[in-house]
Symmetry: C2
Subunit: 158 residues, 2 copies
DNA sequence: CTATAAATGTTTGACGACAAACTAGTTGGG
DNA sequence: CCCAACTAGTTTGTCGTCAAACATTTATAG
């Protein structure tokens, strides 16, 4: 049907045109691109930043708690924490009450670096969402929250 | 400051609390989770689906055009197309006018499968965004588009 | 109390993505 | 015309992620 091959404006998105999920994916890609560039000088990825921020806000938390909070597999977190620990930013201390778990915390250097990162991230947020009004930003945050609140309740029949 | 460790409601998000980017990431994860589960029986990932849909809407397009449209590195596309071609869903035909490029198209079987996939994807969209009103969905689409329109214009000073 | 189940952190294997280097083909300025 | 710069597709290497299997510790059922 819609078979115009716009040369300038990009291709026909076809079925993808109407999918909000596709728009969400494109927004996410643009977001990460800017975020990664902003923190590249520190060798900090969005995921690493998320881990640092959550450990900072919840000192003593376990790896499982952290993994759930940033929606990462616990096995993935192992290498990530190895890295941050190796850089002297994070501490793994075996819990006294539950010998299976480690209590995570930031080192002084970790807190110091996080401070610098936060400023960069705020700049990044401003670049990415700054063209939206405060109202629109609030709207967007609300709608996104509603989407992730879906939480995989439904079943899919094959 | 805010150091309450809510046991039930999850941890303190701390600095992440106010970041729209973080909400966007969570929404994207939830989205992909449902999408992947919905199309797993067909061994089709979101990226593969995007490629199929775009080839369908723009038969004859090149790998580079496709790569740009779905924001994928051209090297990544090679293996993806190898897979789809191996399954008899996609055709790579060397262009007569420019011998560097391949003209991509769907096979009959590719179109047939895409038809089934589309229904699944629409169900998925309904699950993911169905709790939003039509107005809210339009709003969300508009705001997401504004975000990805950012397009990395700004420079970052180190 | 004890045996079984569940949870935590780790290791290993597979896969998808990007980036750099390579080959082949095309284009544009001299 | 021609050679240098660019473009398209591919190969190879690396990295981040998930999933399954494992050992250790904790929780639970009988």
């Amino acid at each position: 049907m819609t078979q115009r091959n716009d040369r300038k404006r990009g291709l026909d998105l076809g079925f993808l045109e109407g999918l909000i999920g596709f728009r969400l994916r494109l927004a996410q890609i643009a977001l990460f691109e800017d975020f990664e560039r902003a923190l590249r000088p520190f060798d900090i990825t969005p995921t690493r930043f998320g881990a640092l921020a959550l450990i900072d806000a919840n000192p003593g938390l376990s790896q499982m708690q952290l993994a759930k909070a940033i929606r990462l597999d616990r096995s993935t977190l192992v290498a990530l924490l190895d890295h941050l620990e190796g850089r002297g930013l994070v501490l793994r201390r075996p819990s006294a009450t539950d010998k299976r778990t480690n209590e995570l915390s930031l080192t002084g250097e970790g807190r110091k670096l996080l401070g610098q990162l936060k400023r960069r991230v705020l700049d990044h947020e401003k670049r990415t969402f700054g063209k939206l009004s405060a109202d629109e930003r609030a709207q967007l945050a609300r709608l996104l929250e509603a989407v992730s609140a879906m939480k995989t309740k439904q079943v899919i029949e094959i």
